[in-house]
């Protein structure tokens, strides 16, 4: 065994580097690799191809979560999806794509333009609304985001819409005031519907490194996350931080966007995702 260990220490190092270069955190990568190594040694497995497959299976196992990976729909419409995340990660685009996807499935969708801060955020969402024939509830610039959400809930209830998707302004997890604003938005939904949003999804950019874990942690502590939307997977980054986020915070990836066209959105597929890490 020591012979295998010595001659293959490079093999294990390469496996670890594959994970690290995909932005998996060192802790999670070490945990996964040492579990596999222990299993391989105790089962006399020394075929590197088989070990690689074991590694893939282990990663898929971590990413899989049974029922949680599906989008939740409420028994009392509208189902409410609150979309959050730091600046520029792809929230507004993901919302348009998700709305289009749900509409194609025959659902009645309303979008809330609750980013009242950034220049042309409302116009950006309205552009998609017009293209898709989906209503966008909006107020004038710098109005209270909570008021937009309240108004959207009214409209969604009146129209008996199936889903209301709420766009919020990008915000750093390090901004106390902006995180408080998000809590307030969540409370508006609870007060109106007597339940929390059915999905609270953090949008994470595939190119982001270890800071994404901190983002997930702080957003989760503030408002409770039900899932991740992983964006820009059409780039060269693998978004491995979602493996860390699932492993350490138990937050699953639900959706993936892989381009700038409206159809570039899919339900998360752990097998496909894991395969991409190893190409």
């Amino acid at each position: 065994w020591n012979k295998f260990k010595k001659s293959n220490s490079q093999f294990w190092e390469e496996l670890e580097e594959q994970l690290i270069s995909s932005d998996v955190s060192v802790d999670t990568a070490d945990m996964i690799i040492s579990n596999i190594r222990e299993y391989a040694y105790s089962n006399n497995i020394n075929d590197t191809g088989i070990i690689r497959d074991l590694l893939k299976k282990e990663i898929i196992k971590i990413l899989n979560c049974g029922i949680n990976e599906k989008l939740k729909f409420s028994g009392n419409p509208p189902s409410v999806y609150l979309i959050v995340g730091v600046n520029g990660v792809g929230k507004t685009s993901a919302i348009a794509k998700l709305a289009a996807m749900l509409k194609k499935q025959g659902k009645n969708v309303v979008m809330a333009a609750a980013d009242t801060y950034r220049s042309a955020a409302t116009e950006q969402l309205q552009h998609y609304g017009e293209r898709l024939g989906i209503e966008v509830v909006h107020h004038q610039k710098l109005s209270d985001p909570g008021a937009v959400v309240y108004d959207s809930l009214d409209k969604a209830l009146a129209r008996r819409s199936d889903v209301l998707i709420i766009d919020t302004a990008g915000r750093m997890q390090t901004s106390f005031n902006l995180m408080e604003e998000l809590k307030k938005i969540k409370r508006v939904v609870f007060k109106k519907l007597d339940r929390d949003p059915d999905e609270i999804l953090i949008v994470i950019d595939s190119t982001t490194g270890q800071n994404a874990r901190h983002q997930a942690e702080v957003f989760h502590r503030a408002i409770g996350l039900t899932g991740v939307i992983l964006t820009k997977t059409d780039g060269t980054s693998k978004g491995g931080i979602v493996l860390t986020i699932k492993n350490e915070l138990q937050i699953p990836v639900k959706l993936v966007t892989n381009g700038e066209k409206i159809e570039n959105i899919d339900l998360f597929d752990p097998e496909k995702y894991t395969g991409a890490i190893f190409t």
């Binding site: 730091v86 600046n87 792809g90 220049s119 950006q124 390090t174 901190h214 983002q215 780039g235």
Partner: protein, 292 residues
């Protein structure tokens, strides 16, 4: 200069007169961990540790009365060296307007940086600035730029056409005729692996001949930062980088990796959404964040 994890580590070994090989290995492992957690590219980390070990096994450390202090000094020197120097200020061209162009991946903060740089040039140098809206793809991109430009009293050239090369050329011609001191071109976000889009930004550069092309890079970019920056640099010959979203408290290892490999200076940093959250790059500040 070293904070947090590094301080504990070196505090633990400081009272040992000599630096044993196992002490050094333990120290190197801790440094590797800290750098990877800071998003420094793993190949850059390997090389850094290699150089560090070589120097640590040399006379300056082994024959020093305070070997651990020597190692800290080396780490700090190497880090600061790897970040380049502060060359942030703007050099204006003597004949005609100075032309700037922003490029980068989607969502990194290009459009915001155009506005911040324009404001920086106006307020610090008293120069007249005008902008060219060459992002024809993103919904409401031109509106976004115009809305922000209106707040700082800066003109924007835009067209209904879908040809960013012609928009850029015409915008620069117009503002040159108007006698502006600086012209800044905003381009669409694009992937470094999108051949058509990289060709487009190459063509804009050829048509307009900017004095400064800045790659706008998100400070929280992970391991791919080096590949992204290298690809952009190869296609459009960047003059420098603008590092954004530093207020995320990200450690910023991407900055170090990119400078180490691409050797282009970081000119400016953006640390917030306000127009004034924009400043000249100071390497020492990033070095202490990475080692944080």
């Amino acid at each position: 200069q070293l904070t947090g994890k590094f301080e504990d580590l070196f505090f633990r070994i400081r009272n040992k007169g000599k630096l044993s090989p196992s002490d050094l290995d333990a120290a190197l492992r801790e440094i590797k961990l800290a750098l990877l957690e800071a998003d420094v590219n793993f190949k850059v980390v390997k090389e850094f540790l290699g150089n560090l070990k070589e120097r640590a096994l040399g006379k300056e450390v082994m024959e020093s009365l305070t070997p651990y202090q020597q190692v800290i000094k080396i780490v700090n020197d190497e880090m600061t060296r790897m970040l380049g120097s502060s060359e942030g200020s703007v050099n204006f061209s003597s004949g005609g307007p100075t032309i700037f162009m922003m490029v980068g991946l989607q969502g990194t903060g290009k459009t915001s940086s155009v506005i911040k740089l324009a404001n920086f040039i106006k307020s610090r140098f008293g120069k007249s600035v005008a902008l060219v809206a060459a992002d024809v793809y993103r919904p409401a991109a031109v509106l976004q730029l115009m809305d922000m430009a209106g707040k700082i009293g800066v003109d924007v050239y835009s067209e209904k056409s879908m040809d960013p090369v012609s928009i850029s050329r015409k915008g620069v011609e117009k503002f040159t005729r108007d006698g502006r001191d600086a012209i800044i071109i905003d381009t669409a976000g694009r992937l470094h692996i999108d051949e058509n889009m990289m060709l487009e930004v190459e063509n804009i550069r050829k048509a307009v001949k900017p004095h400064q092309v800045y790659l706008v890079l998100d400070a929280m970019t992970g391991q791919e930062a080096v590949n992204i920056a290298s690809a952009f640099n190869k296609r459009v010959e960047c003059d420098g980088l603008i590092l954004t979203k530093l207020d995320s408290d990200t450690r910023g290892g991407a900055a170090l990796s990119v400078y180490y490999v691409v050797k282009k200076p970081i000119k400016f940093v953006s640390s917030g959404e306000k127009i004034e959250d924009f400043d000249i790059f100071h390497p020492e500040r990033i070095a202490s964040r990475i080692l944080g």
